[in-house]
Every structure is written in C-alpha cells, then in structure tokens.
C-alpha cells in the first residue's frame, strides 16, 4: 500500500517529477558521456600504441630503459633475431616476436630539415606484431633494403611526397656521421601522431649497416596472447622469461612504457568525473527541494495519516519510496540520454581537427575522438542515481516524520 501511495504521490505533480528526474538524468548522462570519452580515448591510445609503437611486452637490454628516448646504440640486444626466434619457440604465450632498432634521425629535404627517429624493422616479422601496413596512405610498405616509409606529418613538414628523395643523417654506434639518400616508397598515416610526426622506417638490415650494429636491435617486441589490459599477467610472463634467459634483459609492458601518458589522461579523467559529480550534486539538490515541496504541501495529509495510525516508520518508508521512484526515473533517463550521446560519440565521433586543426600532440591519439560503449558503467550510473536519490531523500524525510499530527491537522 505504501508503494502504491508513493507512486501516486510522485505522479500527483507529473511535470515537477519529470523535471526533477530529467535533471538527475542529465547529471548521469554527463557521467556516462565523460566515461565513454575517457574510456574511448584510453582504448584508442592503447590501440595506437599496440598497432604502431610498442607491443604488449617489450624486451630491452638491461639499463637502457630510462634513456631509451636518447636512442643509445652502445647497449643493444646482440643477435636479436636469434633471441626472437628462441622466445617464440620457448613460450606458448608469445605469439610472435620482432626486433626493432630505434635511432635518432635528422631528415633533410630540399626545403626543410627536421629531427625525428628512425626505426629499423623486419617487414615480415614486424607485420606479425604491428599493423603499420594497413596505415599506408600512399605508396607501399617496406619490401626490400633501400625502401623508406615516412610519417605523413613529417613528410608534409619537409614538403616531401611519395617518390621524392630525402637525406637521412645518422650517427653510427662508433660515432661516425652517415648521410644516405632514400626514395620515399610509402607514406604512413596512422592514428598515432607520434609516428606520423616523427618516424622514418627502413629495413632492419639497412639500419644495422648504417648504424654499424650488425645483428643487433634496441628492443624486441613480443605479441602476447590474452588481453593487453591484463598487465599483471604480462608482468608475470616478463619475470618468468627474465629468470629463464638471464639478467641481461629487462621486460616492460606497453603500459609501463607509456605510464606518463596514462597518468596525464587519468588526471584529465579525474577533472571530468569531478565536473560530472558537481552536476549530480546539483540534480540531487533538486530532488531534496522537490521532496520538501511535496512534504510542505501535504502536511495536513501526513497529519491525517498519523491520526489513522501510520507510524513514523511508515511515513519514512513512503517518502523514501517516493524519492526512490524519482531516482529510478532519473537513472532511467540518465541511461537513455547517456546511451544516445554514447552512440553519437562512438558511431560519429568528435572531429576536433575542425576545431583546432592538425595540432601535433605528444599523445599517441588522433584528434578524431571516439567514445566507447561501457555498459557496465551505464548500469553502475543507473544504480548510483537510483540509490543516491533514495538515500538523499532521508534529509527531507526527517522533516516529514517530525511533523506532529495535531500541528499538521491545525494547518488544514
């Protein structure tokens, strides 16, 4: 009976109830939207890293991790192909392994010169771990020694196109300056701005010759079975391999290698969630206000109910159910509105390039943001809105239970 009464009371002022529920819904929609955006961005960053830059687990020579962006050539993995083959053979979780040799590059075009980084890769093995080839926008991927593939933004900055010649200046492991001329055989346009803006790819064999590092690589990228987000398992595997093959190597997960990026995106997410929280609080103030209004206009009725023998507990339950019904509706609106926004964000996305142009970010993230469906979070948001609305109703409910029946009846 209390539930029936609560439902009917809630719809006594349908417009007021709906406005309150929609306000809660809008707050929850913001939460869902922000979550979708950040999960989308995080997953995009992860995909971009895994498709182009680092695999799930990366082997480095011991001691170079901190200086890896300086591309040291004095400490490399000797006989990298042999180690790759061994890792593939010995560990069933290792689907594929590919060596890469990174090095500093000064790229010289006829009109401009820029610093970047070079990457010597074994095109066939690399394709088993990364997905660079599908991102070729012009020309073709590396096929033979002497080929060069360049990031699209770097090419644009150097004012070079497919078939143009570029001078690649490097310094070998012995410190000898080397300048070679390459014809651009492919332009790479990935979703990873770091690659687009800085990278030059040549074959591993070419790189080993130029850098005078025969058979060596700066890292071996291991493509591992299972979910990339399961970094705990990746660490366990890394520790196991490290123990098996001796201490001259270190293993890092893709997440460790990009921890700084996730730290920044985590901070941004916190700000986003804080904004959503403020919106929710405003909506909850709305529900308190609605319930207080509802109580004040029903004081004589509540007095009558008390006179008939309703206990304070009965009144409290009825009010809580009223708040709960509004919260339920708010949760429902939130999920419906949130789902609508998430569908738009996921299927259409937000093209920020129209807003700020092709801005070079230090993030492996392009400017066409896409949301991600996170149904678990939607369910969480629904229950959060529902439960918090119910609990917050305790505040105005105190007022209702404090009303003495004789006072309430006097206000008829």
């Amino acid at each position: 009976m209390l539930f029936k009464l609560a439902i009917r009371n809630v719809f006594r002022h349908t417009r007021r109830t709906l406005i309150t529920a929609v306000a809660i819904g809008v707050g929850l929609m913001f939460m869902i939207m922000i979550d979708s955006l950040f999960v989308g961005v995080e997953n995009q960053v992860m995909r971009n890293i895994l498709e182009t830059d680092n695999s799930e687990l990366v082997v480095y020579p011991a001691g170079v991790f901190e200086n890896r962006f300086l591309f040291p050539l004095d400490t490399l993995i000797e006989d990298a192909s042999a180690l790759s083959t061994k890792l593939e053979a010995d560990y069933t979780d290792v689907i594929s392994a590919t060596p890469r040799l990174r090095f500093a590059v000064f790229a010289i075009g006829p009109e401009a010169e820029l610093f970047g980084f070079g990457m010597g890769i074994d095109p066939e093995k690399d394709a088993e771990v990364f997905e660079l080839e599908k991102n070729i926008s012009e020309g073709r991927f590396l096929e033979a020694d002497g080929d060069l593939v360049m990031g699209s933004w770097l090419a644009k900055e150097l004012n070079l196109t497919l078939g143009d010649y570029v001078l690649i200046q490097t310094r070998s492991s012995r410190g000898v300056m080397d300048v070679r001329e390459y014809e651009i055989t492919g332009i790479l346009n990935t979703s990873n701005p770091v690659i687009n803006a800085n990278a030059v790819f040549i074959t591993l064999a070419d790189a080993q010759v130029i850098l005078e590092t025969p058979a060596a690589a700066s890292e071996i990228n291991l493509h591992i079975k299972g979910k990339p987000k399961d970094t705990e398992n990746l660490n366990i595997l890394g520790d196991q391999i490290s123990k098996d093959i001796g201490g001259s190597y270190e293993f890092y997960t893709w997440y460790d290698l990009n921890a700084g990026i996730f730290e920044i995106s985590g901070q941004k997410a916190s700000v986003g969630y804080l904004i959503a929280l403020i919106v929710i609080v405003i909506a909850l103030v709305g529900i308190v206000n609605t319930m207080l209004l509802s109580i004040y206009e029903r004081i004589p009725e509540l007095g009558t109910m008390r006179a008939m023998g309703f206990s304070k507990g009965n009144i409290r339950w009825m009010m809580l159910m009223e708040g709960s019904v509004i919260g339920f509706l708010g949760g429902l609106f939130g999920v419906i509105l949130g789902l609508g926004v998430v569908i738009l964000m996921t299927e259409v996305g937000m093209d920020m390039t129209k807003l700020i142009g092709d801005f070079e970010m230090p993030f492996p993230l392009d400017l066409h943001y896409r949301g991600e469906y996170n149904f678990g979070y939607m369910a969480f948001t629904f229950f959060l809105g529902w439960i918090v609305s119910t609990v917050i109703t305790l505040i105005p409910t105190r007022k209702a239970t404090k009303i003495e029946p004789s006072e309430a009846l006097r206000s008829v």
Binding site: M1, K4, L5, R8, N9, R12, P300, E301, G303, T304, M305, R306, A307, M308, G309, F310, S311, K312, N314, E404, P405, S406, L409, R410, V412
Partner: protein, 238 residues
C-alpha cells in the same frame, strides 16, 4: 467503567514568551455508546480537547484514561497503535487522501491492521454501500461532492469498528441538508454498532442532534446537559 475519564485536564500553548491556556481544568466522564457534542465559541478549546482524547496531542497536566489506560503512560508508538486500533477520526475538511479512490481511502485502516485482501474488499465495499456510496466506490475524492467525501471519511473512521469516533466539526463544510444526512448516518451507526461519537461543533443542528451537550468556555466546561433527543444508546450510562 466509563470509556473515557478526564480529570483536571489543562493544556498550555507557548508562542514565544506568550502562554495561551487552551484548557483550564476539564473533568468529564464519557460512557460507551454516547453520542456527545462539545460546543463552544472559537478558541474555547474544543479541538484541543478532541486532539488530546484522540492521542494526537499531550496535556500539560491532568489525566485522560481511555478504557482504564492512562494516555500519559503511553509511548509515541503505543499512542499510534491505540489510534490505529481503537479511535476513528472525522475531520471538518474530510482529509481524504486525494490520490486514492474512496475504496482505497476506506481500506487504509484495515491494511494497517493487516487484514487479508479478500476480507478487506468485502468489508470496505459493504460499508461504502451502507453509507450510500455504491456508485462512487472507485472515484477519487476530488470527483465527489462534499457530502460524499464526508461519507467516505465516516466510513474510513468506522471501518475498523473503533470504540470511539472523534469528529471535529464534521458538518462545517456541508450544506444543511447534507449535514443532516451525515448526522443521521452517524447516529444510525452509533445505534447499530454502539460506537461512541464525540463531536466538536459550532453548529446548532449538531448540538440539537446529540444526546449530550457539553459547552466549553475559555477552556472550562460551562455546562453538561442531556438534550431532548432520543435516549442515548449507552448500556452503562453516566
């Protein structure tokens, strides 16, 4: 033993530093089955007296015993239980719950008493037929006239067959014909079920209708008389 015994009852209201003495020493005995009217000018303490008898308010001093139980000894919960089980209320403004139908309004006291659904349906429908509301069982209060609403309120007060019904100016918002019909209805139920009715009223018609008339003035009983009406329906008598 009288159903209700009131001794030296006083009630003060404090508004800021001003103390208003609403009741100044009431002594009364009301027997089971009485049809009694408490009259007096505004501010004479009628409603206050009714509220205290109905466990809706507490006295400043003095005692009120209902069937031998001193109401002052009861906790809030016990007072709510007593209201639920033994006292019915009829209000001047009917005080029906507007979102519920006539049936549902009358059903509430039985739900609180945990009656079965089937028994509730039978009892409520029969009583609504008895009070002449057969056609209005599933109407909401706002779709009914004042007289019909007051009949629903009376049915709600009587459905649990309380020993005592307190009616605060029950005819004040009704025209004289409807008021008379309402009084007739209450008197009939008083006769049939031996329910004790205590009214507060300004209305001459109600005063004439009651078996016993108590006049209050400035918070005191100024007169307590039997009217010329039919012999009251008490077994014990005062």
């Amino acid at each position: 033993m009288p159903l209700l015994t009131i001794q030296d009852l006083t009630k003060d209201y404090k508004t800021g530093k001003v103390i208003t003495k609403a009741l100044r020493g009431i002594n009364l005995e009301i027997a089971e089955g009485e049809f009694l009217s408490i009259a007096g000018p505004s501010g004479s303490g009628k409603t206050t007296l009714l509220n205290i008898i109905g466990c809706l308010d507490t006295p400043t001093s003095g005692t009120v015993s209902l069937n031998g139980t001193d109401l002052a000894d009861l906790s809030n919960k016990a007072r709510a239980e007593l209201r639920k089980n033994s006292i019915g209320f009829v209000f001047q403004s009917f005080n029906l719950i507007p979102v519920l139908t006539a049936f549902e309004n009358v059903e509430i006291p039985l739900i609180l008493l945990k009656w079965s659904k089937r028994k509730r349906k039978e009892t409520v429908e029969q009583l609504l037929i008895d009070v002449g509301l057969k056609e209005y069982i599933h109407r909401r209060p706002l779709a009914m006239s004042g007289g019909q609403q007051q009949r629903v309120a009376i049915a709600r007060a009587l459905i649990k067959e309380p020993r005592l019904v307190l009616a605060d100016e029950p005819t004040a918002n009704l025209d004289s014909t409807t008021g008379m019909e309402t009084l007739e209805l209450m008197k009939e139920l008083n006769k049939k079920k031996n329910t004790t009715f205590v009214f507060s009223t300004h209305d001459k018609m109600v005063m004439d209708f009651a078996h016993r008339l108590i006049l209050l003035k400035d918070g005191k009983v100024s007169s307590d008389t039997r009217t010329r009406n039919t012999t009251r329906n008490t077994k014990s008598g005062k």
